[in-house]
Assembly symmetry: C2
Homo-oligomer: 412 residues x 2
Amino acid sequence: MALIVQKYGGTSVGTVERIQAVADKVKRFREQGDDVVVVVSAMSGETNRLIGLAKEMQDQPAPREMDVLVSTGEQVTIALLCMALNERSCPARSYTGTQVRILTDDAHTKARIQDIDDENIRADLKAGRVVVVAGFQGVDDNGNITTLGRGGSDTTAVALAAALKADECQIYTDVDGVYTTDPRVVEGARRLDEITFEEMLEMASLGSKVLQIRAVEFAGKYDVPLRVLHSFQEGPGTLITIEDENTVERPVISGIAFNRDEAKLTVLGVPDIPGVASKILGPVSDANIEVDMILQNIAEDNTTDFTFTVHRNDYDRALSILERVSSELKAREVQGDNKIAKVSIVGVGMRSHAGVATKMFGALAGEGINIQLISTSEIKISVVIAEKYLELAVRSLHSAFELDEAEVVQES
Amino acid sequence: MALIVQKYGGTSVGTVERIQAVADKVKRFREQGDDVVVVVSAMSGETNRLIGLAKEMQDQPAPREMDVLVSTGEQVTIALLCMALNERSCPARSYTGTQVRILTDDAHTKARIQDIDDENIRADLKAGRVVVVAGFQGVDDNGNITTLGRGGSDTTAVALAAALKADECQIYTDVDGVYTTDPRVVEGARRLDEITFEEMLEMASLGSKVLQIRAVEFAGKYDVPLRVLHSFQEGPGTLITIEDENTVERPVISGIAFNRDEAKLTVLGVPDIPGVASKILGPVSDANIEVDMILQNIAEDNTTDFTFTVHRNDYDRALSILERVSSELKAREVQGDNKIAKVSIVGVGMRSHAGVATKMFGALAGEGINIQLISTSEIKISVVIAEKYLELAVRSLHSAFELDEAEVVQES
């Protein structure tokens, strides 16, 4: 008998029928003898409907009122799921963020959880009830309703699992686990039984989008075993584990992430003096443009080239900002390209294995793919290539690192 | 500068445009220098939508979860109205029932208000904010969300007005006040400037339906001046006053109420022994049929006739119950008629004026209208007549009591 926290997202509770299917699933866990706490999101479409209403009222709705508004979405779902569970003779009780007392700071629309009062939930579990908690929401010290920002239901689930010292936190999604890469691109893409938190973080931020990054960080920090599963298909999913140096050797590379929504911009011939980088990036971030990769190589003739990547939607705005900045800095030229893609190999194993980069670059060269930018972290190597080569690059890397084999072969 | 509590019902906040119109109206009061607390219902249709979802989940949804569900309706409205007010540079802050702390008992779906914490509201008013409160909802001692039952937003408004000692509680509706009778039936029907709480209670329960009865009772009990006004038309509305015996003489009759949804049932030749009335009505109320008028005249030959009226929709069920009961009681016969209507004259003035009943019966007789049943209370006389005479009866009474005159003439 285990204590399990389960989280079902908006698509999993998007219709009356799906909420009923979730109730069936929860009941099966209860029948196995598990204690279950369920965290749910708003029914899909509901949050956007509410935001649409808000925008009709005010150009920039007050964040406090926005939270009052959108938090109703999850409140509807918790009540409906409890009714469905009760109908199945599975006693259940719902809690809003305020009712649990999920205490957050007062940063409306992007609040952070500070404390969770688990007293009521424990009493309900002891009484044999399923506890259904509204995801994504909390309450501040003054009783104001707060929300954790989009996707915050994952964070709620992990935080509850941590507070309750749950045996597992299960995140139900529309995929049956974390894959070595996107199965739509590589036919032989394989579901991973396990992945480390660090790898997952790199995969998520690279666009794998299975889990909210903050939830993964949170789970890592509080040692919550996290499992990603499919809402309506059976299967073990993928367990996200704490890296343990004593475990058997791990595969060098766990997966290949990619992102085709990128654009790169380069300022050429920038005077190589202190403060230049911030003079270039300052106006970009002031315009609320998020920057992904940043590269600057060594200077030659007292000038250097400064490159960064942004989301493709921000390309035009970033370019016109750079034109202005570069003339102020007396840089030589601004270049840009929005037909690029980023491909990354991720794996904790690469720390202790030489030759991973060589193998990656070799595989790409073998296909005649030119590498435009390279950036590395401890457990990740990213390259930027022309977008047209993206699928070819992912397939060749997937094969080079033998990810599509049933048995992963260790490199030496 | 006054403190005003305003309540807008579901129709008044039924669309984005109407919420914006309410915001405009509230702003005008603020500009006059009034402090304003606004109580709102769910947008029209929303509560029914939520109840529909609930019914798909569970035949008889758990009342606690029902309250969690439907209370989201008002929560959406308070946020949207605050945004609309903020957009108009009219600072506003929303409160759910939990956030105000409208403490109720734990009778989910029909809770009663026990206490209101006015501290936060007073602080906001002092800071120059409009306070927007979700109607219809509260919280019990254990933090469970409760609702006051349908129409409970009126009660919320009156209770807040009482707690805040507001100068006036304004109920905005789709009529511009309380009329001497239904203007659709009598062309000369006149809006009353004032009506007493007692008269209003009789008018409401007789089907005038302008205000929820509980709210009127509450306002009377706590001496809250209550005013009924039209949401989107200008006008003074009708003030519902505490009767003051020292004020100038009031008109004998304030208005004429009627109800065409009635049916009458009579058990003839009932043995005149103790306990018969409850043996007849017991099974009727067990079947959840609401009984309106009840009449029993003196016995003759040791038997009596027992008559009562029910809603027309319940007529067939009530009739079949009576058939069974009457044979058990060895009564002679059951008769019924569902083509009847009830007409009532209401007025605190009739207490001190003789001849009101005579005048009423005379007016009806003058039109050749037969009176089937008569029932009286201190400030009301009701008669049941054939439905086909309803309009004729109301018009002749309206004229007999000179209600359509600009100057109401006193009887002697």
